[in-house]
Symmetry: C2
Subunit: 325 residues, 2 copies
């Protein structure tokens, strides 16, 4: 077992905080953020010391109609530039590319012509070969890359070992542990993180963690895995993200000891932009229906439907989950 890196008082210079509000939060409002919202979040993230801001997906326009979604599902170069100009800041820009739902050979410019710094390739564990093909392509174009292996709580250890071996032989920069179902307990998360770290460190790669809050453990799991050496930490303003949401940025910035991270700027943004979003009826965050799917290690889709329908019959819902296990 790897030991903890640093302690509760120390600064870890390898830590990188990534704001995924627009990308994961976009799953709650069909990516329909105003330009003002995105621009203010961009400025806020810079002031808060955030290291990467993820703007959204690069989704296939063959598969998805642009008129059905907000622009951040597609992250056209000109739309990002309308917010960030040439991004004259220390903060880097990330986008996500889903295996199987991205026309990556068509929709990406060479890095030299793009304001995007990092492409995060999201895949399920059986899609690692497809992910690696994309990663090598993005690497050739000059981008930093991550591989975000989703739904890791359903993978078996043999698959994890094999995936790590393949990724360690690739050009990927960061390997992400993604608890899509919010099913991991801190002990699971730290064991998995240590497995990732052991492989990644020997290949000169970093490890990241992306949490979901189905069991109210998103923040706890994030700081637990970071304590063992995970460096790339995903968080979102007010925890905005699909279903139960993600690790809340305000909890994470309050925890980190590096003085570059600034909580106050984020609070202003939350007060002015996030709370109105909630008041407008955009729904996310911990609730019993997500706890059920988290405890049962299942995709939250039924819980999301339960939420969307405004149902409150938690007992019947719970029984229905046990029925169709």
């Amino acid at each position: 077992m790897t030991s903890r890196k640093g302690n509760l008082m120390s600064v870890r210079s390898d830590i990188k905080v990534l704001d995924a509000t627009i990308r994961d939060g976009g799953l709650c409002n069909n990516f329909e953020f105003t330009d003002e919202f995105v621009r203010e979040l961009y400025k806020t993230n810079i002031k808060s010391g955030v290291d990467y801001m993820e703007f959204g997906y690069k989704a296939s326009k063959e598969m998805f109609d642009e008129s059905d979604f907000g622009k951040w599902k597609f992250c056209n170069e000109e739309d990002i530039r309308a917010i960030v100009g040439d991004n004259v800041s220390d903060m880097k820009i990330a986008v996500m590319a889903d295996v199987g739902r991205c026309d990556y050979k068509k929709d990406f410019l060479p890095k030299s012509e793009s304001v995007i710094d990092m492409v995060r390739v999201a895949c399920y564990i059986h899609q690692i070969p497809a992910a690696i093909e994309m990663i090598e392509y993005f690497h050739e174009l000059g981008y930093e890359t991550t591989c975000n292996i989703m739904a890791i709580s359903q993978a078996n250890l043999q698959q994890v070992d094999e995936a790590l071996k393949m990724l360690c032989g690739s050009s990927v920069d960061v390997i992400y542990l993604v608890d899509s179902y919010g099913s991991l307990y801190p002990e699971n998360a730290s064991t998995l993180a240590q497995t990732y770290l052991a492989a990644a460190e020997s290949a000169g790669k970093q490890v990241g963690f992306h949490a979901h809050n189905n069991q109210n453990l998103a923040f706890a799991n994030t700081i637990e895995t970071l304590s063992y050496g995970v460096s790339y930490l995903d968080a979102t303003a007010l925890g905005m993200g699909r279903g139960a949401g993600n690790c809340a940025m305000e909890l994470l910035l309050g925890f980190l000891k590096n003085p570059k991270y600034n909580l106050y700027s984020l609070l202003s943004f939350i007060e002015k932009y996030m709370l109105p979003l909630k008041e407008q009826g955009v729904v996310w965050g911990f609730d019993l229906q997500y706890m059920f799917t988290g405890q049962l290690n299942r995709h939250p889709r039924e819980a999301m439907a339960f939420t969307a329908e405004g149902r409150k019959d938690y007992c019947d819902f719970y029984k229905s989950l046990l029925d169709n296990f």
Copy 2:
């Protein structure tokens, strides 16, 4: 360092779950629960496999006027019996006695005449001698006893060592780590728990943990400390408790592997009794104002006032906390 006890799959027969909904939750509604509510919770706890149910405080009637509070601030013997009869169940009954706010020599019957099984003595760390005097008195009367040392995040290690030494020389059965300010991170909580456990085990005593959710870590800290050997675990239905609330019973029961614990009964209670309480305007649970006081390791009193006033100016509130540090 002690190692973890058991693992994520195993049953630990030393675990005791204590429901503190009426006692800590009573701080949110002035202890004004209906008899129906308390009776249904009592039945639910029995069905759910809960080991102890705390009914409230034994507060001094000299200091507090009975007409100003619901009956569970005083826990008269006849009021408990009106709910539980002779408590013909495996679940034990607990009450809390605050150092300095309890006429303990007047208000407790000998155990042989009471339906109460356990008295939990709550104190700050400088009140340990007063707590021990009460513990010895309750022990003589025949009760199980705990000492709940509150606000432990503000105690220094020397105080903790001294307090543990004194308690280990007393008749107390369980020593509770109480994170009143919700300021502990899992690493802090587990380090403290290991200190408590090392002392307690050599004296044949048990250790308990009582969490607050100011940084959304109540459940995480509870399962972290339990993994190192803490046996007595406090939780409340829907996390109901002062300010940001406590560890949610539904998260804890979903985590524990002992088949005696049953989530479904609790869900029925939550749906029928807890959600209406929220709808009636009783307020508790994680929110930014509590996160601030948790991060700053402070009593949540200003955050509670902010909540009571229905304020939403989080930035101004945060600045005011920094002002009067």
